[in-house]
Symmetry: C2
Subunit: 181 residues, 2 copies
């Protein structure tokens, strides 16, 4: 649960990051930036701001803004019926992304949120700047953290069904609930 | 057939447009901007510069630069075996796009290339600026022309098989042949 005022604040910070990346949103689109707290209630720490350019039953294209130090929790895209699971390519438009995926442990610039070591299991980091990109196979786990200035990341994928994503943290609820204030 | 020197010139002009749109390409990516002349041999008039962010067997994301007045010929994305045909969303990142699609005739800012009225059959124009977008169903015909400053356009889609696209102009060959000079 997050307050409407916090949603508005994070939408405004996302717009500042989109401006730095020269990503233009139409006036009506600016109202539709999703602020996700993943049900954890502390979106400055674990959360993401997401604008969906397009979503059809065949593909999706989104742009994600993470404010400095913000972490998008460890997750994967499972099989859904006939669909083997979402295949996804991320590409940095602006800023620095700490991308943590499957593989042998590496030195880490990303800081695991305090007390959350058990639900961030991956320790293989790539540091991506503008034009850096990575494609994830269905089922492949990953988590993201913004560098010190924040980051703007494209997500290109097969059909997205965010509400069915798997998360390591059992406390996650993918659908954000907003409290009016 | 186009000369290598013309390919290099149009790649450089595309990079200038990508810079205006703040689209960053890595050094090695800059060599991979496709210059398409559609087999027509006059790419300043009918052509496109295309960089593929990602292409898998499930989706594609590309960025297209058209120089001022350049026209991407009338085409559609046909059924290929089990695939009903490419579904595609274009979104303007920078500049002005004259998008000509199916529908009743409208006033046109786009100028049909001289002598080519028979192979540009559509007369329904939308003028899109930054953040303007449009999704095409499989089989739906369309052609594009850049406004006076050129245009940079994202293309998000289901799997792309450009070499199998249909073109109204029987003179089109989708695969560009380059002559070394």
């Amino acid at each position: 649960m997050i307050r409407r005022s916090k949603v508005r604040e994070l939408q405004a910070r996302a717009l500042e990051l989109f401006d730095k990346a020269s990503i233009r949103l139409a006036a009506q689109e600016r109202q539709h930036i999703e602020v996700a707290d993943f049900g954890l209630g502390d979106p400055d720490r674990e959360g993401a701001q997401i604008f969906t350019f397009v979503q059809t039953d065949r593909y999706a294209a989104k742009i994600i803004a993470l404010v400095p130090g913000q972490t998008l929790p460890e997750h994967w895209h499972p099989r859904v019926g006939e669909d083997p699971g979402k295949q996804e390519t991320v590409r940095v438009a602006w800023g620095t992304l700490y991308l943590v995926g499957e593989g042998p442990a590496t030195p880490m610039r990303a800081a695991i949120p305090a007390g959350k070591g058990a639900v961030y299991t991956l320790r293989h980091e790539e540091v991506l700047g503008p034009s850096g990109s990575r494609t994830f196979s269905p089922g492949e786990k990953h988590w993201f953290q913004a560098g010190p200035e924040g980051v703007v990341v494209y997500s290109f994928s097969s059909v997205a069904r965010d509400a069915l994503d798997g998360f390591t943290d059992p406390g996650v609820q993918r659908v954000t609930r907003i409290e009016e204030d």
